[in-house]
Each structure stands twice: as C-alpha cells, then as structure tokens.
Point group: C2
Chain length 372, copies 2
Amino acid sequence: MNRFLLISFLYLFPSGILTGYSQLMNSHPIDSENRVTFTVNAPNAREVKIINLSDPDAMGAAEYTLTKDEDGIWSVQTNPCRPGFHYYNLSIDGFECADPRSQLYFGWGKWTSGLEIPEPTPSFYSPREGPKGEVTTHWYSSSITNTMRKCLIYTPPGYRSQTGVKYPVLYLQHGAGESELGWTMQGKVNVIMDNLIAEGKAKPMIIVMDNGYAADPASPNPSRPEAKDNRFEENLIKEVIPSVEANFRTRNDRENRAIAGLSMGAGQAQRVGFAHLDLFSAIGAFSGGARDFDIETSFGGIFQNVDSFHNRVNLYWVGCGEQDFLYEGAKMQHEALAEKGIQHEWHAVQGSHEWQVWRRHLYEFAQKVFQN
Amino acid sequence: MNRFLLISFLYLFPSGILTGYSQLMNSHPIDSENRVTFTVNAPNAREVKIINLSDPDAMGAAEYTLTKDEDGIWSVQTNPCRPGFHYYNLSIDGFECADPRSQLYFGWGKWTSGLEIPEPTPSFYSPREGPKGEVTTHWYSSSITNTMRKCLIYTPPGYRSQTGVKYPVLYLQHGAGESELGWTMQGKVNVIMDNLIAEGKAKPMIIVMDNGYAADPASPNPSRPEAKDNRFEENLIKEVIPSVEANFRTRNDRENRAIAGLSMGAGQAQRVGFAHLDLFSAIGAFSGGARDFDIETSFGGIFQNVDSFHNRVNLYWVGCGEQDFLYEGAKMQHEALAEKGIQHEWHAVQGSHEWQVWRRHLYEFAQKVFQN
C-alpha cells in the first residue's frame, strides 16, 4: 500500500498522526534512578540494540541488547545513566540508525539520537522565566570556500530594544562531526547565557557559532581530511567577523573579541586565537588537550615570553573532564603553564568527552571573559 | 567494542569521521533523468526498502526493494523522480527509520529523510548572490499552554541596518506532523523571499512561523487529537503577536498583518483569520480544501455578505495542486466563491500534496499580499 494514501486519512481523521506526534516525540521514560526504558517497535527484526556513542558509564553500558515481547515490541531497561546529554543510536539487525522516538542532533557527521538525563534539581542550563535571548541563522556567501554558509548567532535579552548598546563577541566552535547547530541544540547556549545574564554573572554578549568545516574549494576533494578546515582561519577572519560586525551591534576591538571551542573547536580556537592576538584577547579551550604540546614551540611560541603573553592575553581558559581521553594532554599543558608562571584558568571537572562538561565549561568561561 | 573508544582514534587520526562526514551528508547521486541511486550499508539485513512518503509519482514508485551485492551493500536505481522535495524513509527488515545519509526534516511527527530533486535550471527557490535575510529563533514562555515555546522569524535583507523601517507581518503555518522548522528547512522561505525582494516583486516583510500544535494544558493528555491545537488561536493572538510586535519593528494594524498556512495550517489560517478581521486583512490557504465547505455557513458565515467581505478582506488567496487529495474541495470552494462574485485569488497548479506546490504558493502569495 502506498503510504501517501494514508495522508488523506490522517488529514481527515488526525488521531493517527497526532497521537503519533505525541508518542514519537515523547522521550523514553526515565525512572528515579536514571534507568531508561527503551522500546522499539520492530516485529520483524532479529536483533535490536541500543548503541551508546558516549563512554560506557554515560549510559551504564557500551550497548544494550533488547528483548522482544509477543507483540513484536523490543525493550530494555538500562543501568542508571549519568545526568547530561549522550549520543546514541539504534542497531536493527546490525544496521545503525537514529531512533525515530528521539529528538535528533547533528553529531558523528549525521543526524544522531540523543538522550537527555536531567539533573536531580534545576541546573544552570534549565530554562527559567524571564527575558530570553535569541539565536539567529545568518547566511552569507563565502568566496573563500565557494559555498553558501550560515552561522548561528546568539544575541542576549534586550538586544532588540536597547538599540544604543554594543556588545562584545565570543566566537564559539563545535567539535568534530558536529555543526554550527551543536552549541544551541546540544549545548543549550541560549539557556546558559540567559540564566547567567539574568543573575548578573556574565556580561551580555553576542555569541557567533559558525561551522568549523571550511575547506579549500580548489582541492580535488574539499572534504579530504587534510582539507577539512584548511580555510577555517581565513573564512573566520575575512568573512565571518566582517559580516557579523557589519550586521550586529558589536564592539570591534580585540578587548571585546574572544574565541573558544570544544575538542576540534578547542584546537581551532587556540590556533587561530594565538595567531591573531591583534583581533582576540581571550581564548577558551574546552577539552583542549594536545599530545604534542611544547611550551617553547606550541602555537608559534606564544608561551616563550611570559610578560609578552600577559600583556597580550587577557584570558586563557583551559578545561577538561577528568575522564576525557584528552585529559592527560590538557593537564600536562596546565602544569607546564603553571610551572612557567603563565596566568591561565584551569578547570578540571568530573566528566568525559561530553556535552555536559562543555555546558559547564561555557558556564564558567562566560563568567570570566570580557571582565577586564 | 565500545564505540566511544573510537573517538580518540578519530580525534587523533580524523580521516575516518571526516571522510564519513563527507560521505554521509552527500546526497545519493541523481542522474540526468532524475533517477536516484540509493545505497544502504546493511550487510546483516534480510530486506531493505526505500519507502516513498509522498505520492508514487514523486519518486517513481511507492517503494523500492534494494538488492545486496557481495560486500553487503544494498542498492537500487529509482525510476525518474519529480523535481521538488519528497519525504522518504528506509525500511530495514520492516523497521522504518531515517536514512543516515540524508539531511533530515521534521515531518510525520518525527525526523524524516528528504530527497531534493533539483529543477533543470535555477528556480525561484535557488539561492543567489546578494543581500540575505535572516531566520531568528525567538523563545517565549507561554502561560496559555504552560510550556516554553519558540517561533522562527524571517526578517528581510537590510532589517538590521535600516533601523527606521517598520514592516508588515505574515504569520505562516506548517502542516500536520511538521513543526515551526518546516517553512525554513523544507520550504526555503528565506531563499524565496530574498529572491522576490531583490527583484522588487514582493514587499519586504517579516514572516513569523510558530508551531501549530498549541494544546490546552488542563487536558489530561494535551496531545490527544481533539486538544492538539485547541489553544492555537489564543496562543497566536494573546502571546505570539504581542511578543513579535514588542521585539520586532512591525507595522501594527490589520492592513499590515496576514495569515497563511499549508494543509492543517491552511485550516488554521482560515479559521483564525476570518474570526479576527480586526487583526488580519489577508488570508492564504495553501492546499486549502475542505470537504464540508458551505458558502453560507463556513467560517462564521463570512461569505454571506459580498460587500462586507470585500470591505474587510484585502486578499483571500486559495491554492492547491491538481493532484492533491484536497483538490476537489479547494476547487469547489473556488467555484462557489466565483459564482457568488467574491473576489479571491485561485491558483491551481501541477502537483500533489507536497512542498514543491507550497513553495510555489508562497512565491505567488507573497507577490499579492500587502500590495493595497
């Protein structure tokens, strides 16, 4: 039967699709111990699994095999899961796909299921009453990558009414396999910032979130690994910043520009930020570890001269989860900086290579940046 | 093996995930006759299908069964497909899921795969060089539905720089099973409007796209069918319009407000628009058919008095695809209006119950609205 014929039925008798709407977008139930009961309606499948794409502890196991009841519904109750956001997928007879019952998030280079385990009490990323910021999709033609690109731009509460005010700007990058959507959808950037600004803990600021994949159009294959972001720096500096500053009420000096990012984006923030201290005065690296860190040579030797560094850098902020595979590299950098007497913020927190850590990193970083 | 351990590998040697990024988000190849070659990597599956969620002609058949090669890759070449946007899904051993290789779109009450077959030459919805509008996500607390809600708001090119200009506002609704994202992601509202405004064919306007599902919080189950949008009218009039007019540079009189929508949204536009001609002067119904249309009684008897209707309604625009299951109802309404001498715009176009028709409807409607 052609599924499309159902539309007329659904239109005239909408209970089907609307019940579906509700059922499908309800998340799987979570009990008081953060055990999740997943159900998958796949009567003809022979094997159904939940694939945890975060570390095993995040969802209590690396994967779960579901069992089928007499109606063909597969289910499993997980072990207790950790509060925060965890990527996962279904495996249906070995084919990995997104869970039709989940909100989806762009990660791992495709749309992927996400599990949100709430904190026991309202947290710094829980929406509250009060003035709200906005997130604007800003399109621009990029001649550097020869593509139409877009960035997402957070503007703080009051931006549209307080037309005489100009704001500092944070350029904030996502991680590998993610996109410009990550900080809003997974990261809840607008909620975190609205809450901080309402409490007076952070300066009202504009946050620009572009796509970190900006490749050379002259490459035979612009998506080949070495090309993936080889135009990121040029794209950011020659196209994104001018476009943002032409369209938004920005404060256009280095004291009012910062750059930060997570994982791959941390590397981009460090690389581009330290290379352009004429443009930026603050740099944040979330899960910002590097195996090959060398205090004499890394980032163009920026750490060689302590006084020069302190004169030019208002804030260098490095954070990492203690269970992150990048933790040792991040800690090694922190210790080398401390030993040399280089001022920096170091935030080791509980957690892995995961959004819950990066949400917290943003929460802490945003309270330190633009405070000079 | 825990998939998460791969992250460190991918981080340190990014070819895997980045090649994946490219491969995954490349659409399936389309040949010169609009035949699509789908491939699905599912070695352990016994049956793999493409499920066409549009009418059969859209993708050349209601469904396709793929065949497996010796490497476990399933593939099929479709019949020629029709230009436009078509929802589809995969079926893996009978389990219907989104295609990991596709951009996804919110439709059918969940994230669903979409196939974009381009027109042979650049069309009214092809991006061009030149000034770009923006789409802003605007959050607001709704006491009527007792939820945090968001709407998407298109602002035309120049909105941020021409701070002395105020704009008319079109309230534009999606269809059943879709969301506030539909008009931007599937409908390309910003591209269509940018092009029209650049050519001087449409007045620069603000377009507000809210979620049409606004349900009574007092319901035992607010998502039950009869509750699905029982607060839509109140939410729009008491919360959305005031919030938009408080935050955007809008022209706040009935001559500068219009309401339109597709399918379910067409019904909402007609119902709310005709009930509030103190607020709206123009109404658009895309795929706006109704089986039970009665020129004497429908929409509160608005069509009874021809002169009164003409005095109060600047534009009543009805369009429908000739292959739409709602076409007969829409045509019947048009003929009844014509017979009674009621001025309206009637646009019967080639096409079915599909986004390609609604894109064209918006393109035509936007050239007629706010022209008085």
